[in-house]
């Protein structure tokens, strides 16, 4: 196997995006994403069985598209990489089945990798990757995690995570309460534009001194959701713009306050953002302001690498290969709750 500049094909099917990415070392060659988001719209959230069915349909067409974008033959690749967790079990298994068959058919090694660490791995494709250690904040419809990354391939620690809804999920639920369509993120952004974010102040979850003792870096959005719902129900004529702006402000504020507290506490002046919620302009803007104020270096990979994608999975595996790690045993399975400390589960000894 080429360990210096490996050509890696990555498969990501942990939620509702079928991602096929191809990288050579730390260079991006292709990043094809097929999303089943529209099929979930009428349910207001991701339906696991619908997502899994869509992965199966999208898999080979996406593979074929990625190979032509990368202008390579499948037989040229050095390794196959696949997300084995965390995520929706039935969805993960589609990618795993395909990845293993590819690996056996091509007689190439397979690397099972952690989806969350993959989000961080996306940054190495930027051409000017972040230094380690770094604090990383991953926010999407499926996760809200604050991590300390001492080393991308060998040392990632979970500082905190959501104890109820993911941040992206909260956007979807509030959009529903406000009568806005799915997905909620862009809709809330649209509704909030031009409104005063401080007109209505909604609670910041787990931010009171007594909560901070136990949940310094954890998040909670269910109380916020209830507060918004109560406000909408009791207001005579709810000001949708102000509610959306106030809600968004509460989410952005709590995310960045806790992330920057981690940077300060741990004396790590670097923050990496990842996950689909990074598409939120207010989050990006506030992050830039606050990081500049606190002299924290802020890194945000391009949006196509922030949402779930196969390139980040390939990129992480390429880093593992270049660092000399062995492939995974062919017997690994899907682990819907894979801890972030397990960067490459089931590695062969």
């Amino acid at each position: 196997m080429n360990r210096k500049d490996p050509l890696v094909l990555g498969i990501e099917t942990s939620c509702d995006e079928t991602g096929i990415g191809i990288v050579r070392g730390d260079r991006l060659l292709a990043n094809v994403i097929a999303s089943s988001m529209e099929e979930h719209a009428r349910y207001g959230g991701v339906v696991p069985e619908i997502a899994a069915r869509a992965h199966l349909e999208a898999l080979t067409p996406s593979l074929s598209q990625a190979l032509s974008e990368a202008k390579i033959e499948l037989s040229e690749i050095d390794a196959v990489a696949v997300t084995s967790g965390p995520g929706l079990a039935g969805a993960l298994m589609v990618g795993i089945g395909a990845a293993k068959a590819l690996a056996v058919a091509l007689a190439k090694p397979v690397y099972a990798v952690n989806h969350l660490v993959g989000h961080i791995g996306a940054d190495v494709l930027s051409g000017d990757p972040i230094e380690f250690p770094t604090v990383a904040l991953l926010v999407s419809g499926g996760h809200t995690s604050l991590l300390l990354v001492r080393d991308l391939v060998s040392d990632v620690e979970l500082l905190g995570e959501t104890i109820d809804d993911a941040a992206g999920e909260a956007f979807d639920k509030i959009a529903r309460i406000l009568g806005l369509p799915y997905p909620g993120g862009p809709q809330i952004d649209l509704a909030a534009s031009g409104s005063d974010p401080n007109k209505i102040r909604f609670p910041r979850g787990l931010s009171l001194p007594k909560d901070l003792e136990k949940h310094r870096y954890d998040f909670s959005f269910s109380g916020l959701k209830t507060a918004v719902a109560r406000h909408v129900e009791t207001a005579e004529t709810p000001d949708v713009g102000a509610i959306a702006a106030g809600f968004r402000e509460a989410v952005v504020d709590v995310l960045l306050t806790k992330a920057l507290a981690a940077c300060r506490d741990l004396e790590v002046p670097r923050l990496l953002l990842g996950g689909g919620v990074v598409a939120n302009a207010r989050l990006r803007g506030e992050a830039e302001l606050r990081c500049a104020k606190e002299k924290v270096e802020l890194r945000i990979p391009p949006l196509s690498l922030c949402t779930d994608n196969g390139a980040m999975i390939a990129a992480l595996a390429a880093q593992l290969i270049m660092a000399g790690f062995e492939p995974s045993n062919l017997s690994f399975g899907a682990d819907s709750t894979l801890p972030v400390t397990e960067i490459q589960p089931d590695r062969a000894d």
Binding site: Y43, R53, L56, M93, A101, V104, E233, L330, A334
Partner: protein, 210 residues
Amino acid sequence: MILAIDSSIGTSVALVADGAVLAEAESMDSRGHAEWIGLLIRSCLTEVAVEPEAVTEVAVGMGPGPFTGLRVGIAAANAFAFSQGIPLLRASSHDAIALDTYSNGVSGPLLVTTEARRRERYWSSYQGLSAIGAPIRVGGPGLAKPGEIPLPEEGAEILRTLEADRVSAAWLGLLAERLQSGRGELLGPEPLYLRSPDVTLSAGPKRVTR
């Protein structure tokens, strides 16, 4: 040489060629499809001592079967066929069970059922073998409670019922071979789910105030 894969119950993989089974490997673990699929494909290739390039077609069981496991085999079959640029031959997993049964001395009307969870059975009914040696399906595939499976009009009194608990990829491969050479009917890309995704639309957000 056909690589045959079926994960509609357990995970079964085989290599067949010219009506003969060259290798067969199987796991009965009804939850371990993702874990087993790669190992079983590799073990069949190793047993026959051939390179993956020697495979000329991939046959796959399209179910019916519990979705999560079923999809693992179909995803693997898709990927293998894609990687080699070879045809994918899709067939009913129940038809493979029927062929297995008819080839072992049984004849006449046959009802095949398999576990569908939620106190239901997947079922298909057959009338015997066709001229090309493929089972003639006369009913199904369907999904029903055990006492409510519709019986075929002809031969109901001599119908044999087979409650199957495994599907052999070897028979699936032999079936695909017969269907292909005899121009029999293969299936399309949609798995035989027979159930819509489990979703109930809620009436809207719950009230939090009274």
